[in-house]
C-alpha cells in the first residue's frame, strides 16, 4: 500500500462525498466538451451548407445610372450597362489564378417573354446546373430539367394555370412543364425557369448572359482575391462577393461558441469551488485521522500528497466521465443543430479532460495545504 492506494480507499469509503466533489468538474467538462464539439461541427456544417448553396460571388455587367429630365422636370433614370456578358466569359472566369478554388460557374439569363399569352419573366440557366445552383428548390413533378422543358414558379404556375405534364407556349414553340416549384418566397416564384439556350432563343440574344453566379466558397477561401482576379479577367463586369452571408453565419457560430465557453467557465469555476469547499470540509472531519497519520510518522508532504491524490482521483475520473458524456451529448444533439453527419470530435474532449483534472488539483491545493499545516497538537487533541 502507498499514498495513492490509501487515497483511493478513502474515496471508496466516502462515495457520496467523492461524487459530490466531482460533480462540478463533471458538469463543467461535459458542458465544455459538448458545446465545443457542436460549435466546431457547426462551423463545418455552415461551411458545407454554404458550399452546397453555391454562389457567393455574383458577376454582372457594370452599370451606370443615368438621370433623365426636361428642364426642371425629373423623368426618372435608367441603368445603362457598359458592356454585356456572354457565355464566352465563363471560360475567362474559369481561367483565373485561383481557378482550383472555384466549384461552379453558372450563367443566368433573365428576360421577359410571353408564355401562353401571359407576360412573365424567364430565368435561363444550364439545365444540368439547376440542382447545384438552387439545391433548396423543392419541385412537384419531375425535378430534372431538360431542353424543351420548363419549371414553373408557384405563382407563375397559378398565373398560367399549368401543372406538371402541362405545356406552355412561347415564341411559337411548346415547352413541357417538367415540375412546379413549391413557394420559396423569392422572385423565382413568379418566373418560368428553362435551359439558358432555350431562353436565349426566346429572347433572341444568342450567347447572352445577364449574370454569373460563382461558387468559390470553401474553408479559408481567399474570396477577396478571387473577386479581384475575376474583376481583372472581366474589366467591364461588376464582381460582388456576398461575404456577409458567410460572416454572419460564422458570427452566429462564434457567438454560440463564446456563450458555450462562458457557461463552461462558470460551471468549471463552480466545480473548482465545490472541490475546494468539499475537500476543506473533509479536512475538518478528518482531523483525527490526520492526527493518527502524523503520530505514525507521516510528514507534512505525505499528508499533502494524500489529500492531493484523493482529489486527483476524483478530478481524473470526473473529467474523463465529463469528457465522455460531452462527446455523447454532442453526438446525440448534433442533428438538432443542423449537423447532418455528426462526428466524434476528440480534441475538445482531451483539452477538457486536462483542464478539469488541473482545475480539480488546483482546487485541492488550499485544503491539502491546510491539512498538511494542521499542527499535530491540534490533530492529536481529537484523539
Amino acid at each position: 500500500m502507498n499514498i495513492r492506494v490509501l487515497a483511493w480507499k478513502n474515496l471508496l469509503r466516502r462515495k457520496s462525498r467523492a461524487v459530490f466533489t466531482g460533480l462540478g468538474i463533471f458538469l463543467g467538462i461535459a458542458t465544455f466538451v459538448a458545446i465545443s464539439s457542436i460549435t466546431s461541427q457547426m462551423e463545418g456544417a455552415v461551411q458545407d451548407q454554404l458550399d452546397r448553396f453555391g454562389a457567393n460571388i455574383v458577376v454582372s455587367p457594370r452599370t451606370e445610372r443615368l438621370s433623365l429630365g426636361f428642364g426642371d422636370i425629373a423623368l426618372g433614370g435608367t441603368e445603362v450597362a457598359h458592356s454585356r456578358l456572354t457565355m464566352g466569359d465563363r471560360e475567362r472566369i474559369a481561367s483565373i489564378h485561383h481557378k482550383d478554388r472555384i466549384r461552379s460557374i453558372v450563367p443566368f439569363l433573365m428576360t421577359a417573354v410571353d408564355a401562353s399569352g401571359k407576360n412573365v419573366v424567364w430565368m435561363g440557366l444550364p439545365a444540368a446546373d439547376v440542382a447545384g445552383a438552387r439545391p433548396w428548390w423543392k419541385v412537384r413533378g419531375g425535378s430534372e430539367l431538360r431542353r424543351g422543358e420548363v419549371l414553373l414558379g408557384a405563382e407563375a404556375a397559378a398565373l398560367l394555370d399549368k401543372g406538371p405534364g402541362g405545356t406552355v407556349t412561347a415564341g411559337n414553340r411548346l415547352y413541357r412543364v417538367a415540375g412546379v416549384l413549391q413557394p420559396t418566397g423569392e422572385k423565382e416564384d413568379g418566373m418560368v425557369i428553362a435551359d439558358i439556350a432555350d431562353v436565349q432563343v426566346l429572347a433572341k440574344k444568342s450567347g447572352a448572359v445577364t449574370h454569373f453566379e460563382v461558387a468559390a466558397l470553401c474553408k479559408d477561401c481567399p474570396v477577396e482575391d478571387i473577386v479581384a482576379q475575376i474583376g481583372q479577367a472581366l474589366p467591364g463586369a461588376r464582381v460582388s462577393a456576398i461575404r456577409q452571408v458567410v460572416e454572419s453565419r460564422k458570427a452566429a457560430v462564434d457567438h454560440l461558441r463564446r456563450l458555450g465557453f462562458g457557461v463552461s467557465a462558470i460551471v468549471l469555476l463552480i466545480g473548482g469551488l465545490m472541490v475546494l469547499v468539499t475537500v476543506m470540509g473533509g479536512v475538518q472531519e478528518r482531523t483525527r485521522e490526520i492526527g493518527v497519520l502524523r503520530a505514525v510518522g507521516f510528514r507534512k508532504r505525505s499528508i499533502f500528497s494524500l489529500l492531493f491524490w484523493e482529489t486527483g482521483w476524483v478530478s481524473l475520473i470526473s473529467s474523463l466521465l465529463g469528457a465522455g458524456t460531452g462527446i455523447a451529448a454532442a453526438y446525440l444533439a448534433s442533428p438538432a443543430f443542423g449537423i447532418e453527419h455528426p462526428a466524434i470530435v476528440f480534441s475538445p474532449a482531451i483539452f477538457g479532460a486536462v483542464v478539469g483534472f488541473s482545475l480539480g488539483l488546483m482546487g485541492a491545493v488550499p485544503p491539502a495545504r491546510r491539512a498538511a499545516a494542521l499542527s499535530p497538537t491540534e490533530a492529536i487533541r481529537s484523539l
Binding site: 500500500m1 502507498n2 499514498i3 492506494v5 490509501l6 480507499k9 478513502n10 471508496l12 469509503r13 483525527r288 485521522e289 492526527g291 493518527v292 497519520l293 502524523r294 503520530a295 505514525v296 510518522g297 507521516f298 510528514r299 507534512k300 508532504r301 505525505s302 500528497s305 499535530p376 497538537t377 492529536i380 484523539l383
Partner: protein, 237 residues
C-alpha cells in the same frame, strides 16, 4: 549508560483567550533503555500531555526533551515526523485504526510514504500481525474485530518501524479485564524483547508488570519509584 529519555524541567502551559492552564510544571526524569514505566495520576494531572511531549507531537513551552540523543525542541516539523516514525510507537486507548482498511492495511499505513514494494510491506505486516496473535485475521476490517483484536492491530502498527520506545495511552481502557490482560501480556513481551515502554494508565493493576512507576499530580511528579530491578536485555537490532 546514557538514558534513552531525558526530561529536564519540562513545562507545558496552554493559553486560550487570556486564560492560562498549566498541564506540566517542571517535570524532570530520565528513563533508561529497556525500562517499563507506568505513569499514573488523576484526570487532568498531565499524563496525556506528558505522553504527547514524549512522542514529539507537542513541543513543550519550557524545558528540554531528549530522546535517543535527539533534542526534540531543536527538530523541525519533518524532523519530528521522522523521529516519531523511527523512534516512537504510539498505542492509543481508542485504537484509532482507519475503518476503511483491513488489519493488514492498517499495519501498513506507517509504511505508505516509503518506497518499499507492496509485497514487502504486506509481508512485514503479516509477520507483525502473527506476532501479536492475529494470524488469519489480516483481511478483516476493524468493524469485524473485537476490542482486544483491534488493540493488537494497533500494537502491530506501532511496531512497524521497530521503534525502541513504545508510548501507550490507556491501552486497556476500552477493554474488559481478560482482554486487557492479554494486551498487557503483549506489552510485557515487548518489554522482555528490550523495548522501552511508557504507559499512561488509570488502572493500578497495571503497575505489577512495570519496572518503575511515576505518579503525576497537577503537572508535577508526585511519586517516582522503581518497582523491580531492570532485567530486560537491550533489543538486538
Amino acid at each position: 549508560m546514557e538514558p534513552i529519555i531525558r526530561l529536564k524541567d519540562v513545562s507545558m502551559v496552554y493559553g486560550v483567550n487570556g486564560t492560562r492552564a498549566t498541564a506540566l510544571a517542571g517535570v524532570s526524569f530520565d528513563v533508561r533503555r529497556g525500562e517499563y514505566v507506568v505513569i499514573t495520576g488523576e484526570s487532568g494531572s498531565g499524563k496525556s500531555t506528558l505522553l504527547t511531549v514524549l512522542g514529539g507531537l507537542q513541543v513543550p513551552t519550557g524545558g528540554a526533551v531528549r530522546i535517543g540523543g535527539a533534542d526534540l525542541s531543536a527538530l523541525p516539523a519533518d524532523g519530528l515526523a521522522d523521529f516519531r516514525r523511527e523512534t516512537i510507537g504510539f498505542v492509543f486507548q481508542a485504537y484509532h485504526l482507519l475503518p476503511y482498511l483491513t488489519a493488514r492495511e492498517n499495519v501498513m499505513v506507517p509504511m505508505s510514504p516509503e518506497r518499499i514494494s507492496p509485497r514487502e510491506k504486506a509481508s512485514l505486516a503479516g509477520e507483525l500481525l502473527a506476532a501479536v496473535g492475529l494470524a488469519g485475521m489480516e483481511d478483516r476490517l476493524p468493524s469485524q474485530l473485537s476490542g482486544g483484536e483491534s488493540q493488537r492491530v494497533a500494537i502491530a502498527r506501532a511496531l512497524v518501524h521497530d521503534p525502541p520506545v513504545i508510548l501507550a495511552d490507556e491501552p486497556t481502557g476500552n477493554l474488559d479485564s481478560a482482554t486487557g490482560k492479554q494486551v498487557l501480556d503483549l506489552f510485557s513481551s515487548l518489554h522482555a524483547r528490550g523495548k522501552t515502554v511508557l504507559m499512561v494508565t488509570h488502572n493500578l493493576s497495571n503497575l505489577a508488570r512495570a519496572t518503575r512507576s511515576i505518579r503525576l499530580r497537577d503537572g508535577r511528579i508526585e511519586d517516582d519509584r522503581t518497582r523491580r530491578p531492570l532485567t530486560a536485555k537491550p533489543l538486538a537490532v
